[in-house]
Subunit: 422 residues, 2 copies
């Protein structure tokens, strides 16, 4: 008798047949004696269709009205799922984000959940009902306005609800069987990860693994919600994401997997004065222009004479703003050149206890060298090493590193069942 929060993405409820499959899965769990709360995304392409209509009408939609528009998709899917479950004889009650007590901070389009008051959800399940909650949305109680949480917001809704209800597990249903050691479309022999820490999952998600939303994992880690990422198309066990500290203390480094990301551009600032304050000035200019910075590498040796080069990777979408603000400050900062390279990608190797084992980076660089792949930039954290390489060699890099670290499975395990939801 567990309390389970299940989240189903858009591909799991793409049409009415898929909706019925989800209903059957929910009912099976309910009939087994578990208490089930379901968070559901909009059906299939609904959100994209709403975005398309809005885009045809205007390039500058008011944020408040966009959120009202987009919140309609989950209202439809949650209501229909409740209908399908009721039809099978099990009581199901649907709740909007507002009704489920999801309180948000008023940031349209990318709101954060500031609190959950799930009284009505708790009452519904206490009375024997399955509760169905609209993902991706909440209510700003200061203004009584609807906020959406941005892409991946339904994952966050599920984890926040699980935390506030004290759920035993939050199951994230998707169209693959869990997290894999690499993207199975690039590495067919990628292995399913059976168990992984939330910290490693965060690193994977932050560096290109698209299966889980970063904020959802952060929420799960902070509130100690065990996550189980699994397929809505099969009954296989998926990947468990644990949040307990003791499991993180490992002797030998355990390589969990490889993430990759093509969405960053590389920017090199040539000839920055190597004096205190100049780098800080650059980063405050970039922050002021809303530029997110991923990797930063500063290399004194390559420039010399009291000058240094700074290389960064930034999201593609921020490249124009970054170039503009830096070009405007070229003289002030004495920058001799700005070099921009959009044709790069990042490979990130993630695993516990990596930093204390220098042979991990040695093996990584050797694998790339053997494969004839140049490294542009390197950065690392406690549990991750990232390398920036040429975009057109990124897939080769992922495969080479996957093999070098003995991650290949004996047979092909990964099955991708559909598209990806949010």
């Amino acid at each position: 008798m567990a309390l389970v929060v299940q989240k189903y993405g858009g591909s799991s409820v793409a049409d009415l047949a898929a909706m019925r499959r989800v209903a059957a899965r929910v009912i099976e769990r309910h009939n087994a004696g578990d208490t089930v709360v379901v968070v559901v995304s909009a059906m299939g392409d609904t959100t994209d269709e709403l975005l398309d209509m809005a885009g045809e009408l205007t390039d500058n939609p008011p944020a408040r009205e966009m959120d009202l528009l987009l919140s309609a998709g989950e209202r439809i899917s949650m209501s229909l799922l409740a209908l399908a479950i009721n039809e099978a004889g099990v009581s199901a009650t649907a709740f909007t984000g507002a009704q489920a007590g999801l309180r948000t901070d008023g940031q349209y389009g990318q709101a954060s959940i500031v609190g959950v008051v799930p009284e009505r959800v708790a009452r519904a399940v206490r009375e024997g009902s399955v509760a169905i909650v609209a993902g991706f949305q909440g209510l700003d109680y200061d203004t009584d306005n609807v906020n959406t949480l941005g892409r991946g917001g339904s994952d966050t809704t599920a984890v926040a609800l699980a935390a506030s209800l004290g759920a035993d597990v939050c199951e994230i249903y998707t169209d693959v069987d869990g997290l894999f050691t690499a993207d199975p479309r690039i590495v067919p022999t990628a292995r399913r990860i059976t168990s992984i820490s939330s910290e490693e999952t965060l690193e994977l998600a932050a560096h290109g693994a698209k299966i889980l939303h970063l904020r959802a994992v952060e929420f799960a880690r902070r509130y100690h919600v065990p996550l189980h990422v699994r397929s809505s198309f099969s009954d296989k066990e998926g990947t468990w994401i644990h949040t307990s500290k003791q499991e993180d203390t490992v002797e030998a480094p355990i390589i969990s997997g490889i993430a990759h990301d093509r969405s960053n551009d590389k920017l090199t600032i040539v000839g920055v004065r190597d004096q205190p304050g100049f780098a800080a000035r650059i980063f405050s200019l970039l922050a002021g222009a809303g530029v997110q910075i991923d990797t930063i590498v500063q290399d004194v040796a390559t420039a010399g004479n009291g000058f240094t080069n700074i290389s960064l990777t930034i999201p593609e979408g921020d490249a124009a703003a970054a170039q503009e603000v830096l070009a405007g400050a070229k003289e002030e900062l004495g920058i001799s050149d700005l070099q921009f390279n959009p044709n790069v990608g990042t490979l990130s190797l993630v695993g516990a206890g990596m930093r204390s084992h220098p042979w991990v980076s040695a093996k990584l660089f050797d694998a790339l060298f053997q494969a004839g792949i140049n490294i542009h930039l390197i950065s690392s954290s406690e549990i991750r090493i990232s390398v920036v390489v040429d975009d057109d060699r990124l897939d080769d890099a992922v495969r080479a590193v996957h093999t070098a670290f003995d991650l290949d499975a004996d047979q092909i395990e990964a099955v991708v069942y559909g598209g990806t939801g949010r």
Copy 2:
């Protein structure tokens, strides 16, 4: 500088092009200096599509979840209309029924509006914005649940908002140029009614004229909201529905128009004991079975011997229930026979001061006689005479009466531009 509430039905916002036309119309009014509040229905067939999906999943949808589902349609249209108006440089703010302060009585699918607290709408227009409100929905404040108002509910939303805001006029936009003296599809020479009382409009709406929802007209009459029914596809003046008493006191009877209705069946109860209490017992049985009764005619002469016949017209949908409950009470009431005729239709002639002018009924009956049309039943009110005739002669009857009362226009005025919204 008037305060105008405009209501646009589903056919007026059927697609994005139509949405832009509505936006242009709203903006024109706003720029002319008027304060504009817009109530909008779901786009085109959205509601029917949602109903179809629900119907594929279940025959017995829970009422609460159906209302959550159906309310999504208006959320989409109100948001998109706000986007289109904003794009043209005029500020527009969208409100759900709940946000606009429409409070309902908790009757899912056919809720009544029990109050309107339009603070946010009033604030938005005070600040120079156009307010866009989702029609057809409100919030049950006792339970925080969404209610829909049933078909025609957007009209009622508009009138209720107009009443609570003290609007100068409530404009109901539709796909014809107003109310006509008869259905232009049956009588091509039907004339547009320029001005009519709310009482007459009520009689027309109650007896088959589909252009306005009954509850909306009742609301307008009770709260003295002037209505202007007009086309969203043209700039022509439509029909003004006035609610002031003095205009109703007329010398000569003014025939406003002819409504017709095919949706009723006729039921004749043969041989009811003509004693006090027996008729009352029949009507209490029918009321208990949820049967709505339209026309009732009791005729002592046709049966005789202390027995009487009672004929009624009832909505098609109630016919089975009525027959069942009466068949079960046949012996108790001494009924000798139940006769049922689904092939009837009702013609209603509506006009002020009709009862005090007996030549009106004489002319009506003569017109039908000349056209060779049999009359099954007759009933009348202060401002209406209705006759029940054979279904297949109903169109002929409407045309004959229309001509007899000199209602024909010299040329064809009516243009039907699209489908009908709600």
